[in-house]
Subunit: 325 residues, 2 copies
DNA sequence: TCAAAAGTGTTATCCTTACACCCATGT
DNA sequence: ACATGGGTGTAAGGATAACACTTTTGA
């Protein structure tokens, strides 16, 4: 292949997650125009400045937000043409690399953030159908499923199968219809279906449809494909928690088991079984007692735990395989 | 971040896997100089020609090998400086995107390949310590482990922890020492350790050490970081088999359960328990009888099966959680 | 004393693992 | 007949799921 390609830029996009008021929150910055209010922190990778892409991502995050992320993981690289609608020959083509970053929020960090235009936002404001903590989201039956079924049954808009499945089967599996269970890891599949069916404003911005005909819109829209990257990040994090102790990147140094459980529940977007959760966490050797305890708001004081680092040396995949309810 | 970056190229690298003579084989092409004989098929992504990166990868593979890959999956994007040693200002910086592709070999394809300089090579020739089908590889105790321990115990060469683990703990977990079990998914971790300890020729080529002092070398070397991409591909494939039926991308239309088992064993690099394997595959609804049977070389004729596509509609994660032995 | 949240114990069920055994064909 | 690989049944063990219950605090 010859090297006479159009000029290419590597864009880095970070889905930076922290717990804010018992909810998983994502760091957002304002979009470039006044139509779109939310974007992921992003920047251009400069190989002269950054030794690796991971280092570039860390610096970009620090520069934009004054935050130092703990855990960082690459998600996916998107190279679609037409990702940006400006198509002049002078415009560089942007290949964007999505990242997931986890961080703890301290008071100081909150203050540092106050000086910038960045801010935290509950990630379920972007993907409201993913939060089942207060029961099945009403949006599903009121709006989403009927619209998806209508779309899936329209042969004009659905010509090709994806991974061997037609649109109807994909909807059924991703949204837990007819015997299928709701699978909390299928976040990206669900977003892609909702996007393909033209139910989110990104489909309008990308010129795929004229209007969603939905008021209010289905979750807050984001710049370009940033909401897709967020969906990828959530899916990856939900999957990762089951075999890596990354949850502790989001917890303070010491915490009660209820704190831990609520954090897990907020990420999975569903309740977990209390008694079995506690047993599993302790039995797996993921935590150890600090000795201290916390007087809670009404009720028996809870023992404080900390992450037991030694577990990393003992088992290759220490995670939380937690059950429903 | 300003956009005055060095010129960047997106390199696509494909680890293309097929079964050749009951072994997982990878498609290799000759390296650019005569020192390195093996490279992965690679090319430059041109956004003007290719709608998406996945499409670019498919075209690149077809152009170089006349093969049409079935399953394609993005692995990881590497942006390290110094990945190529030439560092002149005119040299474009290459960010490389690694891909895994699976394909079936038909006789025609084999013939088409004959006209090119590409060829198949058993992937265990690159990572010989990953094949446990004939028992524990001798290389481990003869060469690898003692060299790794020596490296891990040298504080001069090991200053920083990785994922909270020191070098010693990483070796212990990745290579199943002292109570840890050998985990067939830790292919990349093992390759990274072997590379870091200077046991493979890539470490020489990258200028990290003067010589490995190993004769014969530890597996065939590859161009740049291609062997690392191969290790990533194997790890991903071994993990993926457990929850997606991608194994059938490597099988012919119809096959016996023993064929299937041997394919699985060759990928995992270890034996699996025959009786339980058969039960799981059938119980999981992954295969169905074709009705035909095959007279094997001595012994009872085996029933022929085919992949049961309907399973994709029934369960979100149909894979092979197969036990040892 | 009661509400609220923390924390413990016990059993049923399923899935994996292991082992033993029978079946159909070629030589 | 017997060697060879194909194919089946069944019981033990471990992990998860579901349920009921006790403990310690604040109001």
């Amino acid at each position: 292949m010859p090297g006479h390609a159009k000029r290419i830029e590597i864009g880095l996009n970070a889905a930076i997650v922290a717990m804010v008021d018992r909810n998983p929150a994502i760091l957002r910055i304002p979009g470039p125009d006044n139509k779109i209010t939310d974007a992921l922190p992003y920047g251009v990778f400069d190989p002269l400045k950054h030794r690796t892409m991971d280092a570039g991502l860390r610096e970009l995050v620090e520069a934009q937000t004054k935050l130092r992320p703990g855990y960082v993981e690459q998600l996916y690289t998107f190279g679609d043409r037409g990702r940006h609608r400006v198509q002049g020959d002078e415009t560089p083509h942007v290949v964007s690399v999505g990242y997931l970053a986890l961080t703890r929020i301290h008071k100081e960090k909150k203050l540092q953030l106050a000086g910038t235009s960045a801010g935290w936002k509950n990630w379920y404001q972007f993907l409201p159908w993913e939060d089942w903590r207060s029961g099945r989201p009403l949006l599903l039956d009121e709006v989403i499923i009927s619209a998806l079924l209508e779309w899936a049954n329209d042969p004009e808009r659905n010509k090709h199968a994806v991974r061997g499945l037609d649109a109807m089967a994909r909807v059924r599996i991703a949204f837990g219809l007819e015997g299928s269970e709701w699978d909390d890891e299928l976040v990206l599949d669900r977003y892609e279906l909702v996007y393909s069916a033209g139910l989110v404003d990104e489909a309008v911005n990308d010129g795929r449809i004229k209007s969603t005909n939905l008021d209010p819109p289905l979750g807050s829209a984001m710049l370009h494909d940033h909401r897709r990257i967020l969906a990828t990040a959530i899916a990856r994090l939900r999957a990762k928690l089951k075999y890596r102790p990354v949850i502790f990147e989001l917890m303070p140094e010491s915490f009660t088991l209820t704190d831990l459980q609520q954090t897990v529940e907020s990420i999975f977007g569903r309740g977990v079984h209390k008694q079995n959760f506690r047993r599993q966490v302790e039995h797996a050797g993921l935590v150890e007692l600090t000795g201290a305890s916390q007087r809670s708001t009404g009720g028996r004081p809870a023992a404080l735990f900390r992450f037991r680092h030694a577990v990393l040396q003992e088992r290759p995949a220490p995670g939380l395989r937690v059950g429903r309810s």
